[in-house]
């Protein structure tokens, strides 16, 4: 699975400069290496699979998979190369999380998997089986918004709104771990998300003002 907050924010912490600068000043190799480390760390079972007997070949045609999304079992047939994001968007009609860069650099597709933020565009659907997946669709209870969503709406933490589901998911993951973040902590947690309309000021305001998020 694509690591998100872990690698990115550690990198930021170490260098003391923003992620953008980091990417600009460090070669691609450095970033790629960290991504692979994170992947192995995040998926111990995948590592095991790699070292054990060769797995039975699956695909290239569609294969049945079962995902646990927002507490619901979802049975789909998708090609093994299908990302979690595309599986939910194109095959399950769950279009709340957006596809923007499709390669792990903008955060619009952010979901929470086993309590950690992940780029769903860089996570294979078949590999997400057996994990606890939370997407933007799972937050509100009917018409009652999740406290983070409520705070975003009140603070105007959105303009066109295309980045918003990803920001909301990142903010939820942050607040479930750390209900009272500092500005710096909030910035770091949201640094894996990009907004072109420039809503950061009010997104941060919303994240810092949110009350009543239970620890995850």
């Amino acid at each position: 699975m694509a690591p998100k907050d872990e690698t990115r924010s550690e990198l930021d912490e170490r260098s003391g400069v923003s992620r953008r600068f980091f990417l600009k000043t460090v070669g691609a190799g450095g970033v790629a290496a960290s991504v692979i480390d994170g992947l192995q760390e995040a998926l111990p079972h995948a590592q095991e699979a790699g070292t054990a007997a060769a797995p039975a070949a699956i695909g290239p045609g569609p294969v049945p998979i079962t995902l646990n999304v927002n507490g619901q079992r979802l049975s789909l047939k998708v090609e093994p190369r299908t990302t979690l994001l595309d599986a939910l968007r194109n095959h399950a009609g769950q279009t709340g999380n957006k596809r923007v860069c499709d390669r792990g650099s903008c955060g619009a597709c952010t979901m929470i998997i086993d309590g950690r933020t992940r780029y769903a565009c860089s996570t294979l659907a078949i590999e997400a089986q057996g994990h606890d997946i939370r997407s933007i669709e799972g937050l509100a209870k009917g018409t009652v918004l999740h406290p983070v969503q409520q705070a975003f709406a009140e603070a105007d933490g959105m303009m066109c709104g295309f980045c918003t589901p990803g920001f909301v998911m990142s903010a939820v993951a942050l607040l479930e771990k750390n209900p009272h973040p500092t500005v710096e902590e909030a910035k770091r947690a949201l640094d894996g998300n990009i907004c072109r309309c420039g809503t950061y000021v009010r997104v941060l305001e919303a994240a810092l003002k949110t009350k009543g998020v239970a620890r995850g």
Binding site: K24, D86, T95, L145
Partner: protein, 728 residues
């Protein structure tokens, strides 16, 4: 070749007399206050359906095959293999053999298949034979005398020289002269929702869900290109993920999508990927200016002589205003559009202005230093006279006070250590203003209110503005209004460009709501025994102006309608909007002179926009505009390989846009001008930021950067040159 779709600044009269019946309320309930976006809940829950999210029964996915070469001749296109690939339902060639392709990413062929994966596979099976031709990959190359002649009318198009005053006399009066070259980069729009649409045919009628800034303009575009009546086309845009000037037409991908859908007999979803978006959907042209400018000993501008050029890619112009705002009594300018083999420019958030502003404002600071004047004092001496649409003389002092400009040190932070701080300032102007919008209002017997307008909300909050003005006029809560926009079936409204939407739409809504209310008053007046003209609507009641008790609730009033709702049409009228805005920005930066990294720590933006309709979303516009400028100043750059002409960074990890950690403290000071009516605000705040940052970096480091973006390598190179004893 197409010209960039430049949305003109609307030249509406600054003050126009309107019909007093429609005048904006003098003591509004909602207007000018913080009103939350009415579609906020839909956006934060993911329920909002963007074109990207539209799914139709039996929908296919489309994929375009694009030229990998910046310049090539198509020898042959073979679709056989693609047609036989699994899931493929349509395949077509976009160009004929022998067509000359002029930029990397130009459309060549397209396929549609049952799944997105199948469409991608099939696109790879389209066999295109190219004869690769030598491209023009840079402005320098295109302008050199031995460059291949790539464009039929020449690689360079030279405009007529503009000249005012007596240049020789101007330079004679100058005590100091600056002679420098400035430049700005090509910037791409990077709308998070890429361009594209879903097209579905029902017989000869087309419905298209398009990510567009103009539902009506796009309807016209489809009809023209497909040679069908406009009446057969319906364009829907309920939500769209940003356009910034790049989304006014179906574009090539829209027409391709419609043709694929026709061929397949099924709806087709065709949204571009990020690389296609960078290559083929527009950009802000680059700008270069070689300038000689003079200033008198007492700090008055005397002369300005500029040769300017820039590229808008393959066959598109690269104009920009210069000099910007300040008054050079004697001036000359000669501009050249330079064509290269790269994707064409389109309008982009205040087309031309950030370029002209950066170049002029950096020059202004250089001149101020020569006459040893504070940059603000120097600007105040050389501004045009104060006018409603030119209020810099008032705004510089306001900004200076908010910012603490008096703490500015002279150029070059003398503090020891590698971290240097600096202040910079700049000014902006824009047109805005509106006209031409229509609306339709229904008041239903059960008390319901529908307001329809064929505008679109591109993220600026237009949907919310429609609700605010309707609710204000009818004396109802905002959520009592059903606002329906984003559909070409609704009354005409123009494209959302040039910051004209608010000033076009809100007057139309006001007029229409007043007409609907008048119709309701006429029904109710006899029952209350009050003349219609004495009735007012407030707090959910219709009542006599001087006797609140003499009235009825909104619901009771509507019940008197019986079975026949009120249905009225209205349109934009003069007197409720104006054009012309001005603003001033000040920036503080922190530059690490060892790494070359500049960080913007503080920004003050003083901006007017006429009458403020929603303070909350207006401030968001300002903040967003300023951040757009920060990105332009420090990060963004479309980089082409100078040998191959390929874009090196067609993605979001090497084409940089700032993230949350790059955000400075921003003070958005909106100047309300209720007397002018609504003007529009989308573009102006994005104009001045880069220039203010550039001047702040010079103030911090003592070295002047004359080229955007101001990346660490440029800062370090300038410092190195200074140490080596080069020119400032």
């Amino acid at each position: 070749m197409a010209e960039a779709r430049q949305v003109p600044e609307v030249a509406a009269p600054a003050v126009a007399q309107g019909n007093a019946a429609y005048a904006w309320p003098t003591h509004p309930t909602y207007m000018g206050t913080d009103v939350q976006r009415i579609d906020g809940p839909d956006k934060v829950t993911g329920r909002a359906k963007y074109s990207y999210d539209i799914q139709r029964p039996n929908m296919l996915y489309g994929r375009i095959v694009r030229s990998p070469h910046p310049r090539a001749r198509v020898v042959a296109i073979d679709l056989t293999m693609a047609r036989q690939a699994p899931g493929v339902k349509a395949a077509l060639a976009v160009v004929e053999p022998n067509a000359i392709l002029m930029f990397q990413g130009e459309e060549v062929a397209a396929v549609a298949a049952a799944t997105e994966e199948q469409a991608r596979d099939a696109a790879r099976l389209v066999k295109v034979q190219y004869e690769v031709l030598p491209p023009l990959t840079s402005v320098e190359q295109a302008m050199s005398p031995d460059a291949p002649k790539v464009f039929p009318d020449g690689n360079v198009r030279e405009g007529a020289a503009e000249e005012t005053g007596d240049l020789a006399a101007g330079f004679k009066a100058a005590a100091h002269v600056v002679e420098q070259t400035y430049n700005t980069q090509v910037q791409t729009h990077v709308s998070l929702e890429t361009h594209g649409c879903v097209c579905e045919w029902d017989g000869d009628k087309l419905t298209a869900w398009v990510s567009t800034q103009a539902v009506h303009g796009t309807r016209e575009g489809f009809a023209q290109a497909l040679k069908i009546p406009q009446a057969n086309v319906r364009v829907i845009t309920q939500y769209m993920g940003g356009g910034f000037g790049s989304k006014f037409a179906p574009d090539a991908q829209g027409i391709i999508c419609a043709n694929l859908a026709k061929q397949a007999g099924a709806p087709v979803h065709l949204m571009l990927d990020r690389k296609e978006e960078h290559l083929a959907t527009g950009n802000r042209p680059s700008a270069y200016a070689k300038i000689r400018a003079g200033v008198s000993a007492d700090g008055m501008l005397t002369a300005f002589d500029a040769q300017t050029w820039g590229t808008g890619g393959a066959g598109v112009g690269a104009g920009f205003p210069l000099p910007y705002i300040y008054q050079f009594p004697n001036r000359r300018r000669q501009h050249k559009d330079v064509y290269i083999n790269a994707g064409g420019a389109r309008a982009m958030r205040a087309p031309g202005h950030p370029q002209g502003c950066f170049i002029t404002e950096v020059l202004m600071d250089e001149l101020a230093d020569l006459v040893k004047l504070d940059p603000v004092d120097f600007r105040m001496k050389n501004l045009p006279p104060d006018a409603p649409d030119a209020r810099w003389r008032a705004y510089f002092p306001i900004a200076a006070k908010l910012f603490g400009w008096d703490k500015r040190h002279p150029t070059g932070d003398a503090t020891p250590g590698p971290i240097k701080h600096g202040f910079g300032c700049s000014a902006n102007r824009w047109g805005g203003g509106g006209r031409g919008s229509h609306a339709h209002c229904e008041i239903l017997p059960d008390g319901g209110v529908i307001m329809r307008c064929g505008t679109q909300d591109i993220g600026t909050g237009t949907r919310t503005l429609v609700s605010i003005v309707t609710a204000e006029t009818l004396g109802l809560p905002i959520d009592a209004v059903n606002t329906e926009i984003g559909d070409s079936l609704y009354p005409f409204s123009g494209g959302s460009g040039g910051s004209t939407t608010a000033a076009s739409v809100t007057p139309a809504i006001r007029v229409t709501a007043v007409k609907a209310l008048d119709a309701l008053k006429a029904k109710v007046a006899p029952k209350l025994g009050v003349p219609p003209a004495d009735l007012v609507a407030s707090d959910g009641r219709l009542h006599a102006r001087n006797d609140r008790a003499k009235g009825m609730t909104w619901k009771e009033a509507c019940r008197t309608l019986g079975a026949e709702p009120i249905a009225v049409d209205g349109e934009w009228q003069p007197g409720l909007s104006a054009s012309g805005t001005s603003g001033v920005q000040m920036a503080e930066v922190e530059v690490d002179t060892e790494t070359g990294v500049s960080k913007v720590t503080r920004l003050v933006c003083v901006q007017d926009c006429g009458l403020i309709v929603d303070k909350l979303t207006a401030e968001s516009q300002v903040i967003g505009g300023v951040l757009f400028g920060v990105n332009y100043a420090l990060f963004e750059d479309r980089i082409l390989d100078r040998n191959t002409g390929q874009m090196v960074n067609p993605n979001m990890e090497w084409y940089l846009i700032g993230g949350p950690s790059d955000v400075p403290e921003i003070t958005a000071h909106l100047v309300d001008q209720p007397e002018r009516g609504v003007i529009g605000l989308g573009e102006p705040p994005a104009v001045a930021t880069a220039a203010a940052i550039a001047n702040a970096i010079a103030n911090a480091t003592g070295v002047r950067l004359r080229s955007l973006p101001m990346t660490p390598d440029k800062v370090l190179a300038a410092l190195e040159q200074q140490r080596a004893g080069g020119t400032r």
